[in-house]
């Protein structure tokens, strides 16, 4: 695992394996999710992989009624908006993710600060397969 590049490709491979992984700077300890190959605090490039606990809370969200084709293909539309959000992880870093298990047509019921747990959405098959990061209450 240590040999994996600190790249988006590795990050996505880990998501496929249902792991939300970040990189921690070996010099100053700053933690990044998604991983960074260069620490932007101390500029060191010695990193190590750290798996997050996958727990966090909602920091910001939006209920999207007009989405890109790949979301519309999942059955979302103007009458059935999906929710995307910013999640602040227990480890301190923030990630952007789909927010599942909330009603996008009732935004007033979605509260900032709600505790969330990670979920991995596997979509497509074979060459087209991808895993999307999601969280749910």
């Amino acid at each position: 695992m240590e040999e994996k590049h600190f790249s988006d490709i590795s990050y996505e491979q880990f998501l496929n394996e249902e792991k939300l992984m970040g990189s921690r700077c070996k010099q100053c300890g700053t933690f990044y999710v998604p991983p960074r190959p260069i620490c932007i605090k101390c500029y060191a490039s010695e990193m190590e992989w750290v798996q997050t606990k996958g727990k966090g809370k909602l920091a910001a969200f939006t209920c999207i009624a007009v989405g890109p084709p790949f979301m519309m293909e999942e059955g979302y539309d103007r009458t059935r908006p999906y929710v995307s959000g910013v999640v602040e992880l227990e480890e301190g870093a923030r990630v952007v993710a789909r927010i599942e298990g909330v009603d996008g047509s009732k935004p007033e019921t979605i509260k900032i600060g709600t505790p969330l747990r990670v979920e991995f959405l596997h979509r497509g098959e074979g060459e087209d397969s991808a895993t999307f990061l999601a969280f749910r209450p």
Binding site: P34, F61, I64, V66, P68, S84, V96, F132
Partner: protein, 421 residues
């Protein structure tokens, strides 16, 4: 700021022009730029010879994707008879032509060129909304795209963070929309040159004619609260919180300061110019501001020796209503967390102490992304020269105006301060 910035020599704006912004099935990028170029020429008081232009900087963002052609510098250079002189395309997403302006300023300030054209063009409306959404997502952060975020979505999420922190709500966003439409009503070049009230009256008339139930909105806010009139795009961003899809072009003629009076007796001088970069939504330290704007503003204030209170009028990048509120704070016009109150109190209205987006802003003037940056300069050009007609702000001794342009989800921001001396 670690080091005091300075320009090698002064730079002046001596002409500015734009095409009409809107959705035009019958106008392509070249035609649109020709419209802007012709208006710019006629705006140069003492005339100009296009053969004297030393170089072109051209902002464009999506033509690769929408028109399947990416090499726009020489195409536009040829259009205006500039070849074989150099043409450089700049890309900063929705801030592309502000980058063109900045490069033009540097080219003149360095002493290399004397007369430079900076402009932008964008041709977007010949594609479906879904295709445009997908094309614009090229300026988003890939993580955001994977999480389903759209542009309105990123600003929607920004709004929820802002609301939670400062106690603002949707009603405050509506104040921005109503103001922008009131200004655009007075701008014949605006894509939507109507007030929200005008739109309401038109809908009521139409319902009467068709014998349909007549809507009973009592005021603009009731109209904007009506989900039929103003549907959700990416909550809390509704249709009337979002700028439209537009085609258009704009350009500005810049010359070395010492030559300015050969072109006009009332040039505008570039007092300050700044640019910053920003991180994606997940990596931002503060979800309720744009670090790129703050850096750009600081650079421009530093160069000019001016303060936020010295800026009398500004065009800011209101791609979404919440963005205008945040820019008012990031640019230092109002304290952080109080931008929404300033709008509510009418301080940013045409007749207020700090008029913002007198053109109608991106929301109403239109947002042909690559043309927006230099398009904003045109409004300041008109206002500072007293040529804004019905929407001329009633400020006495109007001398200092500014433009703020934002690209992507805040990845590239610029701030330019112009001065009439």
């Amino acid at each position: 700021m670690q080091k005091r910035r300075k320009l090698g020599r002064g730079v002046a704006v001596v002409g500015a022009g734009m095409s009409r912004f809107g959705m035009f099935k019958d106008k392509d990028s070249k035609y649109l730029f020709a419209e802007a170029f012709n208006e710019m020429r006629s705006a140069v008081d003492k005339g100009m010879d296009p053969g004297d232009i030393d170089a072109l900087y051209l902002g464009n963002f999506t033509n690769d994707f929408f028109v399947r052609q990416g090499h726009w510098g020489p195409i536009i250079a040829d259009l205006i008879g500039l070849t074989p002189k150099p043409a450089t395309r700049t890309e900063g997403a929705c801030a592309s032509s502000a980058l063109a302006l900045r490069e033009a300023v540097f080219a003149i300030a360095s002493g290399f060129y004397d007369i430079v054209l900076a402009g932008g063009v964008e041709e977007m409306s010949k594609r479906t909304t879904e295709e445009v959404t997908q094309g614009l997502a090229m300026a988003a952060i890939p993580y955001e795209v994977n999480a389903g975020f759209t542009f309105p979505g990123v600003f929607g999420a920004t709004a929820t963070a802002y609301f939670a922190r400062y106690g603002a709500n949707r009603e405050h966003l509506m104040n921005v929309t109503i103001k922008s439409h009131n200004n655009a009503r007075l701008n014949p070049k605006a894509q939507f040159n109507v007030s929200v009230r005008d739109i309401m009256n038109k809908r009521i008339e139409r319902a009467k004619k068709k014998g349909e139930p007549i809507p009973d909105w009592r005021d603009e806010k009731e109209f904007l609260r009506d989900p039929k009139a103003n549907p959700v795009v990416a909550w809390p961003m509704h249709l009337y919180d979002c700028c439209p899809i537009s085609d258009g072009a704009s350009c500005v003629l810049l010359v070395a300061e010492e030559m300015a009076r050969n072109f006009t007796d009332s040039p505008l001088y570039v007092a300050g110019i700044g640019q910053g970069s920003g991180k994606g939504l997940h990596a931002k330290e503060d979800l309720t501001c744009f670090e790129a704007t703050r850096y750009a503003a600081q650079e421009a204030y530093d160069l000019s020796g001016l303060k936020p209170e010295d800026v009398q009028i500004a065009e800011v990048h209101d791609c979404f209503s919440i963005a205008e509120i945040i820019h008012l704070e990031d640019l230092g016009f109002f304290p952080q967390g109080e931008g929404y109150k300033a709008v509510e109190e009418g301080l940013t209205r045409l007749d207020g102490p700090k008029p913002i987006n007198t053109s109608g802003g991106l929301k109403c003037k239109g947002h042909p992304v690559g043309a927006t940056g230099t398009g904003q300069v045109i409004e300041i050009w008109k206002q500072l020269r007293g040529e804004a007609g019905e929407r001329q702000v009633p400020i006495k001794d109007l001398r200092i105006g500014a433009t703020h342009n934002l690209g992507g989800t805040g990845g590239t921001c610029t701030f330019t301060i112009l001065e009439r001396r």
